[in-house]
């Protein structure tokens, strides 16, 4: 991504890998994530796959620094998440399930606001470029509440990327997308990967994830069951790994 926010060099927290090391997180007695480890390097797309309640969203929240791990560590390059300065958040972009958009504001206003939030001096220019990339330049001045789910997703993705993050976290990004939008998203993610970003996405949609992932981390009940590099035949792999134990 060419747009970079204005940061002084000593505050630049760029990293080339994110390492999840034996991370657990519990809520009272419920273990949401249990001793999960994996590594995401620059220029890869990592998929977190698993049934509902497997801990995918929790893991993404931990990676986004919204949650603190109960045990274990997450390292962004050399920086550990516990000691991470606020500037680290500049390198992380999140596309959550709830899209993080203000429905009363227009697409342009949303993007300008978030660009400004991330310290971009040329917020208007950044927003314009983002709208062009999303193909929404003609609807730029309509309130987001009037958009379809797919269009909102596109704006939300641009919002997540507007500050040129190194690490992109996506929670169920294909929900509610039609084929064209999904294909566009996949193309976009591939482009990001090729430019050196680390993309970690959680999804149920195995067909769409097919061929997209460089690494697949299978989760069940908060635990990492298996990690497969360059997975093929995702659906059958998923079934055998995640449900393998229950089959006779």
């Amino acid at each position: 991504m060419s747009q970079r926010a204005n940061t002084s060099p000593d505050l630049d927290c760029d990293f080339d890998r994110v390492a999840v090391e034996d991370v657990s997180r519990h809520f009272g007695r419920r273990r949401a994530v249990s001793h999960v480890s994996f590594l995401g390097s620059s220029g890869t797309i990592v998929g977190l796959l698993g049934p509902n309640g497997a801990g995918k969203s929790t893991l993404l929240a931990l990676l986004a620094t919204i949650l603190r791990a109960s045990s274990g560590a997450i390292r962004y390059g050399a920086i550990e998440s516990k000691d991470a300065p606020a500037a680290l958040r500049e390198r992380i972009g999140v596309l959550g399930h709830d899209l993080f958009l203000y429905p009363e504001l227009t697409a342009r206003e949303n993007l300008v606001f978030f660009a400004g939030l991330y310290g971009n001096d040329n917020a208007d220019g950044a927003a314009r470029a983002a709208l062009d990339r999303a193909g929404l330049a003609d609807r730029a001045d309509d309130p987001v509440s009037s958009f379809s789910r797919g269009m909102r997703q596109r704006v939300a993705l641009e919002r997540a990327l507007i500050h040129g993050p190194r690490l992109l976290l996506l929670d169920e990004p294909f929900t509610g997308l039609d084929e064209t939008s999904a294909a566009a998203l996949i193309g976009r993610l591939r482009g990001l990967r090729d430019s050196g970003a680390i993309v970690i996405l959680a999804t149920h949609d195995l067909d769409l994830a097919e061929g997209l992932l460089d690494q697949a981390v299978f989760l069940r009940d908060g635990r990492r069951v298996e990690t497969v590099s360059h997975p093929e035949g995702l659906r059958s792999t998923y079934r055998s790994i995640v449900f393998g134990a229950s089959q006779p």
Partner: protein
């Protein structure tokens, strides 16, 4: 940090101007409050002594409670509060931004309320406008400073609508005492400046202490 706070204020104002939801509902609620008090307390066309001061402040606090709830409820839909906290600015900037927005709304409501209360209760509220503004603004800052922190804290909690007043009202007792007493002192025929100054000083101290405390504890309280 102030840059980010200012961005948030502008954003909130834009959203508010579009929908005008919170402004209208706050104002309407405050006015209804005052009317209810009028029906309850005015007898034979005469208002109780000093009643106006109390009524004004109670209406402000009740309306303020609603405003706080609504403002953060809005951020809760689409989880935008999370998005704000994910930004690289110090998280206290989110607090400051929200605080300023809420202050603007409440002070706007007060501008409408003061003449209304003065009219309905035949109170000499506008006798000393500068002192009154000072007391109103510093009291509102105190109330909003504590309220913004609590409302932000409660965004992800259960029973948040009921918990906000439960937490907020005991904590802002000094504000209501100082505010009401200060305002009442302003309505006396012969103004005792010393009394008004005392209450104003108390309010300003309260504001200083609690805004500082809120800035210190905001990040710790909002992280899970």
């Amino acid at each position: 940090m102030m840059r980010v706070a200012w961005l948030i204020v502008r954003k909130d104002l834009t959203v508010e101007v579009r929908s005008r939801e919170i402004a209208y509902t706050t104002l309407f609620f405050a006015v209804s409050c005052v009317l209810v008090f009028a029906f309850a307390l005015v007898r034979d066309g005469r208002a109780p002594e000093d009643g106006a001061a109390g009524i004004l402040w109670i209406a402000v606090m009740l309306a303020g409670n609603l405003t706080l709830g609504r403002t953060f409820e809005r951020e809760r839909q689409s989880e935008t509060l999370r998005a704000l906290l994910l930004g690289p600015a110090p998280r206290a900037a989110v607090y400051v931004g929200k605080l300023l927005g809420i202050l603007a709304l409440l002070i706007g409501a007060e501008v409408a309320l003061v003449p209304l209360v003065a009219l309905l209760f035949q109170a000499r509220l506008l006798a000393h406008p500068l002192w009154l503004s000072a007391i109103l603004v510093s009291g509102t800052v105190g109330f909003a400073a504590v309220g913004t922190l609590f409302a932000a804290m409660l965004v992800r909690a259960r029973s948040r609508d009921v918990l906000l007043p439960v937490l907020l009202y005991p904590m802002t007792v000094p504000v209501i005492i100082a505010g009401v007493r200060g305002t009442a002192a302003l309505m006396q025929p012969d103004l005792e400046v010393g009394v008004v100054q005392f209450w104003l000083a108390l309010l300003l101290c309260f504001d200083a202490v609690f805004v500082t405390l809120a800035l210190w504890t905001f990040e710790a309280v909002m992280t899970d």
